[in-house]
Symmetry: C2
Subunit: 351 residues, 2 copies
Amino acid sequence: MKLNIALLAGDGIGPEVIDQAVKVCDAIAKKYEHHITWKPALTGAAAIDAVGEPYPDETHEICANADAVLFGAIGHPRFDNDPSAKVRPEQGLLKMRQKLGLFANVRPTFTFPSLIDKSPLKRDRIEGTDLIILRELTGGIYFGERGRKDDGNTAFDTMTYQRFEIERLAKKGFEFAMKRSKKLCCVDKANVLESSRLWRETVQAMEKDYPEVEVSYEFIDAVAMRLIQWPKGYDVIITANLFGDILTDEASVIAGSMGLMPSSSVGSKVSLYEPIHGSYPQAAGKDIANPLATVLSAAMLFEDMNMTQEAGEIRRVVNKSLAEGYVTEDLADGGKSYKTSEVGDWLASNI
Amino acid sequence: MKLNIALLAGDGIGPEVIDQAVKVCDAIAKKYEHHITWKPALTGAAAIDAVGEPYPDETHEICANADAVLFGAIGHPRFDNDPSAKVRPEQGLLKMRQKLGLFANVRPTFTFPSLIDKSPLKRDRIEGTDLIILRELTGGIYFGERGRKDDGNTAFDTMTYQRFEIERLAKKGFEFAMKRSKKLCCVDKANVLESSRLWRETVQAMEKDYPEVEVSYEFIDAVAMRLIQWPKGYDVIITANLFGDILTDEASVIAGSMGLMPSSSVGSKVSLYEPIHGSYPQAAGKDIANPLATVLSAAMLFEDMNMTQEAGEIRRVVNKSLAEGYVTEDLADGGKSYKTSEVGDWLASNI
Ligand SMILES: CC(C)[C@H](C(=O)O)[C@@H](O)C(=O)O
Ligand SMILES: CC(C)[C@H](C(=O)O)[C@@H](O)C(=O)O
């Protein structure tokens, strides 16, 4: 098969972890006789420095015409504490999600047998956790009107949802639930927010189309608690953009390491694959970042292309590296550790 | 001393847990020669049933003229899944917060030596946790304009903050920090929200007035993760209404039981004291709910009235009940347990 993959390395550790995923994908391509053409493109702070904006049109062209996008991370601390910065790396991410129509972020949460004791949570609470959070990604308070009034002394942001935005996200949720344990949980704040009441109303109206799926409705504050108390109580969660941002990061503690969790963002056209961790600027350039989340994101890419064997092979080799301790320092527990690039080489050579 | 305390039992288990706090306070009053006049008033679903609204004017009068308010819980499931309900118990809570000017919710998070192993988190991660979350309580998306458009197919909520709202909350945060370890963390989503950028800007401008306080700024998604990974990394957290709603409930898992965590809501006038747990309707009327969070909320009440000895006495007797296993079934680990009312009697008789 021929694959065109847009390669958006981004900022911080992005380029380093992306490099390892490329090595692994190339090894897969060689073994299974595919041909991958990588199309590198600029994004984030790197793009601001080069061309003055974080998601240039040229990058969009490359992504829109690719079969998939592999993404590293974006963000740079020099923008974070400067409330007056006019252009920010994150704007690139948001523009990209919107222009590519990536309305659903899919984040699986699961545990790795060899890493379970690294979690801050007790083994019996998390062992066997297998849940998916579907976060709405192109609506809500991320994209509503915002601004200042009263000489800058009042600031506002608007959380807006339209019924069709909720429907298309919920549809994916019901579909996932049908393929899994047929349990769907809609997370909102319907006791306060009108937009949450529209969520509830919309999902309730869809229940009749999926009579086998058992749907529950829970408040975000309660879920922030229960997700830690008993993650096995959840299977498929659907939620709004902001709530999903918070819950998906929170859920990452279950696995014990952010360095391992992959994600995909899907919509109508091309899909995007990225590790859930950020640009981790303190580690940038040091060849110490854990590349596994990006490598596992590539596995999700192959899976979605119906290349199940290829995806399985990547997961197998990742598990092997974990089992044999061929890992970066974050997973080494003070024992022997390997460089980012060494882990990438090892994974590729074991395919 | 003479104290007038408004008593808002509310819904679900509210009346039962409030009864025990009253017993304990009356025992304190007897021992320390105070005179407490209790002023019961209606709120929540109970008030809707009785007079058609969840925070009647008469209740407000009683609260506004009291020295303090002791509050149980409100909420009833018959309203939760009915997006079209016109009057909701929660509206009473919001109206009360606003009309009483309770702009800061103070939630301490700590561990109990005798309960530490009940937490889903590992002992070494949480032992010694001692943090305070200060949640803004009368602004933000809870009180902004909301509504529907396009024949009900679009819903919106507005998150609005004015500089003075942030300043008065942050001032309390700085003051708490000065009395503690001089570390303050402002939690927001300034990489996306304009209102968060106003938070950051406002708090940054206040830093010079508290040169000894070390201030950090973190994103809500990262904190949702780090609060579980390493709660000891935080001391005083200040945050907006919605973020605080989520973080405070999440933080409650650290202690291992919601049934133990007290809170206060303070502002310019009267203060309110309440357990952080909800109305827990499944347990209502069964005499099984844990009254300790409400009893410890009463301790916060005495503390704020500078009745330190009285507050200490309540905490001592609560710790004694935990150590001796004189607890409700949620804390009994399958061992012998006691009724809500029995725990209240025991606490009162040990004062
Ligand atoms: C960088 C930031 C704008 C972004 C978000 O909030 O969506 C990030 O936290 C994420 O989850 O991808
Ligand atoms: C009942 C609800 C409106 C309320 C809130 O969100 O403020 C509750 O969750 C709380 O934290 O007191």
